[in-house]
């Protein structure tokens, strides 16, 4: 059955604490952290972008399992921070993992759910027999305007999944989506920072779509929340996924392993992929995983996944760093260093 052949995540080493950002804007850091449930976020190095994160995540996936790059027939990179407006990230990834030239590739954009849309595309190509393996990546160096609420969470990271039919470490039993035209968050062409509809981003956007896709998935599978060992929800902060999990009837223990936002922030297209990687880092054969992403604009993709014996025999999980290892391997920046890293200082040209 179609499933995940191998996986790999990548998180940059730098962090900034919410407190440090709050200090600059005269805000109350403790209050903000407690409200969002995010205490620190990752920051890319000056020579990292969503493309380098995508490449390093894909290489971590291939380090875990011996997949012949020539058998990779498709690469999709989902991001809202592709380094070029025109010139695909996905072909550079293909070149950097040795999968070119006999492959198809495209960059995806659907706010924070473009990575899971890539998984669905690869599933379709694999199931139809068009390709042997497809690589789906969600990767972002998220932007938040200085002093905007987003600045406390907009983070960097990503994860890659090789999708195929032969001995998957986790079978994807089914996937479904729930999409509507909802203006909760947007960025116009040429603008450096996104804008959002404030309170509008909660109820009619995140909660409606995540619940819509989640209910659809459980109805199709005839399952209930208690049937799953782990659940991963899109995490623009830690509050939204905790609330939506409770509304759906999932318990805090089920979402804990896949909830990286408190120590990572919101990695946008990377958020659910990194959360799923964190679960695969510890999952045992037979574990059932529930996944629901969310992308503003708006849509949610849900997945029902069962971990197989191959997770113990076909991959070497230790051949690449776990999400937990990368979350703990960190260097703190102050706001001035952070501003330099993110190119927020205006230089003489």
């Amino acid at each position: 059955m179609v499933g995940i052949i191998t996986y790999g995540a990548y998180i940059p080493q730098f962090r900034i604490k919410a407190d440090e950002i709050a200090k600059v804007w005269g805000a109350n850091g403790t209050e903000i952290s407690n409200g969002l449930g995010v205490f620190e976020k990752s920051v890319p190095d000056m020579d990292e972008d969503s493309l380098t994160i995508a490449v390093n995540a894909a290489r971590n996936a291939l380090a875990r399992r011996d997949v012949n790059p020539a058998d990779i027939g498709a690469i999709y990179v989902g991001s809202e921070s592709h380094p070029y407006a025109v010139k695909p990230t996905s072909v550079t990834v293909g070149e950097a993992i040795g999968a070119t030239p006999v492959m198809t590739a495209a960059d995806y954009e659907f706010a924070c759910k473009a990575g899971t849309a890539g998984i669905q595309t690869c599933m379709g190509l694999v199931k139809s027999g068009m390709i042997k393996y497809g690589v789906a990546i969600g990767s972002d160096v998220a932007q938040g305007a200085p002093s905007d609420a987003l600045e406390y969470t907009a983070a960097a990271g990503g994860a890659a999944f090789v999708i195929g039919n032969d001995d998957p470490i986790a079978e994807i039993n089914d996937t479904c989506s729930y999409s509507t035209d909802t203006p909760d968050f947007w960025r116009r062409e040429g603008q450096a920072y996104p804008r959002h509809g404030g309170r509008f981003s909660g109820e009619p956007a995140y909660f409606k779509h995540v619940q819509g896709a989640a209910h659809l998935m459980m109805d199709r599978m005839g399952t209930k929340p208690a049937d799953y060992d782990y659940a991963i929800f899109h995490q623009p902060n830690a509050k939204f996924p905790r609330n939506v999990a409770a509304m759906l009837g999932f318990k805090p223990e089920q979402i804990k392993q896949g909830l990286c936002a408190p120590r990572l922030g919101n990695t946008y297209s990377g958020a659910v992929p990194v959360g799923l990687s964190s679960v695969l880092d510890v999952a045992k054969p037979g574990d059932r995983i529930f996944v629901t992403s969310y992308g503003s604009g708006s849509g949610s993709d849900a997945f029902d996944i069962t971990v197989t014996d191959a997770i113990l025999t076909k991959i070497d999980r230790k051949a690449a760093p776990s999400v937990e290892t990368m979350l703990n391997d960190k260097i703190y920046l102050d706001y001035a260093q952070y501003a330099k890293h993110k190119g927020k200082i205006v230089m003489q040209k």
Binding site: M46, D47, D49, V55, P83, E95, A96
Partner: protein
């Protein structure tokens, strides 16, 4: 560097692809198409380096051209790959005082330079502490 020039060397820069002489077992990076030891007896094949090695020597760059100015100070090192060949490459570190001769490093994929706000972005291999 012109767009065509960096594009031609792209594969080597992304993936540390060099060559190996199967006759004498010597590795070459950048790749050589002729083994200077074996000459006509040499059998040259493409070889992808593992990307691990150690720092032989290094220098700290404190002033650089416009393109690299924001990144100073940074470290450029001669690295001996585990296969035996040496190359010059940037080493990523948050504190230049942490770098030392003999330090184990591994390759990673990073942005090398960008031609202003509208030109081409060059990606490639840098090294980081293993």
């Amino acid at each position: 560097m012109s767009v065509p020039r960096f594009w031609r060397k792209q594969t080597n820069r992304y993936n540390l692809i060099g060559t190996k002489c199967e006759t004498c077992g010597t590795y070459y990076f950048p790749p050589r198409s002729l083994c200077p030891k074996c000459r006509r007896e040499g059998k040259i094949v493409d070889y992808k380096f593992k990307g691990t090695g150690k720092i032989v020597t290094f220098s700290v760059v404190r002033t650089a051209s416009d393109k690299f100015d924001l990144q100073t100070p940074f470290v450029v090192a001669i690295i001996e790959l585990d296969e035996g060949t040496r190359l010059t490459a940037p080493v990523i570190c948050s504190d230049i005082n942490e770098v030392y001769i003999g330090m184990r490093v591994k390759s990673t994929f990073r942005k090398i330079s960008a031609d202003g706000d509208s030109g081409i972005i060059v990606y490639g291999t840098k090294f980081i502490r293993e």
